[in-house]
């Protein structure tokens, strides 16, 4: 009898203990893989960057080519993020607050950059604007350079980062509905007043969240930009491209020094993203 009771009790207590073991194992596994896949490489970037000391690190950052790459990356972000801010808000606004023919087509179009390989997105622009492309001759005649020049880089970056703002705003605006906008109109607000005083403030955290994602991606974009850039140093070399060039020249400490800049930005973006995620949740309520 006692034996039977013990046998009965055993699986029950095991059942109670099992999840703890599973929990610990899973947590350790998850943390380990995180450490190996993310933390270790991040650490390696910084170790490699400072391998030859602090002054070598500073030299690498102060190098004129690096500085021009930083400048180009920042200007690209400075143009493409505001562009996507306008496009994204306009698209989300149109999709969530109005009914029109072709709405579903627009929603699908917004997602294209997520589905297409960045290299292909770059090639599209080469095909359209390149010397042998559709408009190549006309552009050449008018002395306008898009491919292997800054406009091409901005175009490619804008294309690749297009969905972030719209994708973030659409579900948020959908969940909020149009009641508050209608209330504003009834109270005598004009369309602009409604937009600036009601629509935009209601989604401000979600919008910032989308912008942070957009900015992080725009700074880090490699594939599409690589195709259209032409890798001309101090002219069409962005930070990620510069890392590659330095690495290919066996200048490891230089490459990693520049990479730390991108890593730091990534970490800042991650923290911002977390904070904004939390604020956006509040907004949706």
């Amino acid at each position: 009898m006692a034996n039977a009771a013990a046998q009965l009790a055993k699986p029950r207590s095991l059942a109670r203990r099992d999840p703890a073991i599973v929990q610990v194992t899973l947590t350790v596994l998850a943390l380990l893989s995180l450490a190996v896949v993310i933390l270790l490489p991040l650490l390696a970037v910084f170790i490699q960057a400072f391998e030859k000391g602090w002054s070598a690190y500073l030299d690498a950052i102060r190098d004129p080519y690096t500085r021009s790459a930083i400048w180009l990356s920042l200007s690209t972000v400075g143009v493409s993020v505001p562009l996507n801010l306008v496009f994204g808000v306009a698209a989300a606004w149109a999709i969530t607050k109005f009914n029109f023919i072709g709405k579903h087509v627009l929603v699908t179009l917004i997602d294209i950059p997520f589905g297409v390989s960045p290299v292909v997105s770059g090639l599209i622009y080469v095909l359209v604007f390149g010397a042998q492309g559709w408009f190549g001759e006309w552009l050449g005649d008018h002395d306008i350079r898009i491919i292997f020049a800054v406009p091409g880089i901005i175009l490619a970056t804008t294309f690749v980062t297009f969905p972030f703002v719209a994708r973030e705003l659409i579900p948020l605006m959908q969940s909020q509905g149009t009641d508050e906008e209608e209330a504003a109109l009834v109270l005598g607000a004009s369309g602009w007043q409604m937009f600036w005083r009601i629509t935009l403030p209601n989604v401000k955290w979600g919008l910032l969240y989308g912008l942070v994602l957009c900015l992080a991606r725009a700074l880090g974009e490699f594939g599409a930009v690589s195709v259209v850039s032409g890798h001309i140093r101090s002219e069409t070399n962005t930070l990620p491209l510069h890392v590659e060039i330095l690495y290919n020249e066996y200048n490891y400490s230089g490459a990693f020094a520049v990479a730390t800049l991108l890593s730091v930005i990534a970490v800042i973006a991650l923290v911002l993203k977390k904070i904004l995620e939390w604020k956006t949740d509040e907004e949706a309520r």
Binding site: A184, L187, Q193, N202
Partner: protein
């Protein structure tokens, strides 16, 4: 200020929301639009406000054709079913909104706006919630703030969509009596939508009973109760009365 609804029809796709609706509401009158859901009550209210365009027919506000006027030109007060308070603004800012969006020439000074908001907060007996956000209020408080916001622009027409629908029975009864008193003080034309016949018969001067987009009967509460014009009105009033008695038991 009177509201005149003339031959209004409205379809959504193949669904007939309203068909040849005629109704006149005089200044000082409180009229209930009563009927089962899907009967066209809210659509009619939204057409009067200008939030929806009729397929045909006309809306006249104080005997002037307003059919083609935009929402903002109609100067109506509208209380939404779920209040639609501006979530990122305090109660004070919510109530001041209608005054602050006015053009420079017609906008009252900051002090005047503050003054008006304070008076309205006293009117709704909530002068202590001015700095709170809508999410910090109870349902009944939100309802009253929504009403104060609509009244801030001094409309001559007040439209309320299921004003007490989301409230519990006790609060509902209190607010009902309060709305009636308020309406009498303001001397405006008010229309409210409800599917609760007890509410309609108790509060309003006249009741318009809508079903399948048609006005079945218009009359004072005692008229429609004593002389229902058809089967539907009789059934609707008696069934509703029954179900309310059942649920309050």
């Amino acid at each position: 200020m009177s509201i005149q609804v003339e031959h209004i029809s409205k379809r959504f796709g193949t669904f007939v929301a309203l068909e040849n609706v005629n109704l006149r509401i005089e200044t000082g009158e409180l009229v209930a639009l009563l009927g089962p859901s899907g009967g066209g009550k809210t659509t009619l209210l939204r057409i009067i406000a200008g939030l929806e365009l009729p397929d045909c027919g006309a809306i006249r506000l104080h005997d002037e054709d307003a059919t083609s006027s935009s929402v903002r030109e109609r100067h109506v007060g509208f209380v939404f079913q779920h209040y639609a308070l501006f979530r990122h603004m305090t109660v004070h800012q919510n109530i001041a909104f209608g005054l602050e969006v006015r053009s420079k020439e017609t906008r009252p000074s900051k002090a005047e706006i503050n003054d008006r908001v304070k008076k309205l907060l006293q009117l709704i007996q909530l002068d202590y919630v001015g700095d709170r956000y809508p999410s910090q209020l109870s349902g009944g408080q939100r309802q009253r703030v929504a009403l104060a916001r609509a009244l801030a622009v001094e409309p001559k027409v007040l439209l309320l969509d299921e004003p007490f629908g989301a409230l519990d029975a006790k609060v509902r009864r209190e607010l009902r009596a309060w709305l009636r008193r308020l309406h009498d003080e303001l001397h405006i034309a008010s229309v409210f939508v409800t599917h609760d016949q007890e509410e309609a018969l108790e509060v309003s001067d006249r009741v318009a009973i809508l079903n399948h987009g048609r006005v079945e009967q218009v009359g004072t509460p005692s008229e429609v109760r004593r002389n229902p014009v058809n089967e539907f009105v009789r059934d609707f009033l008696s069934n509703e009365a029954l179900s309310i008695r059942e649920s309050s038991r």
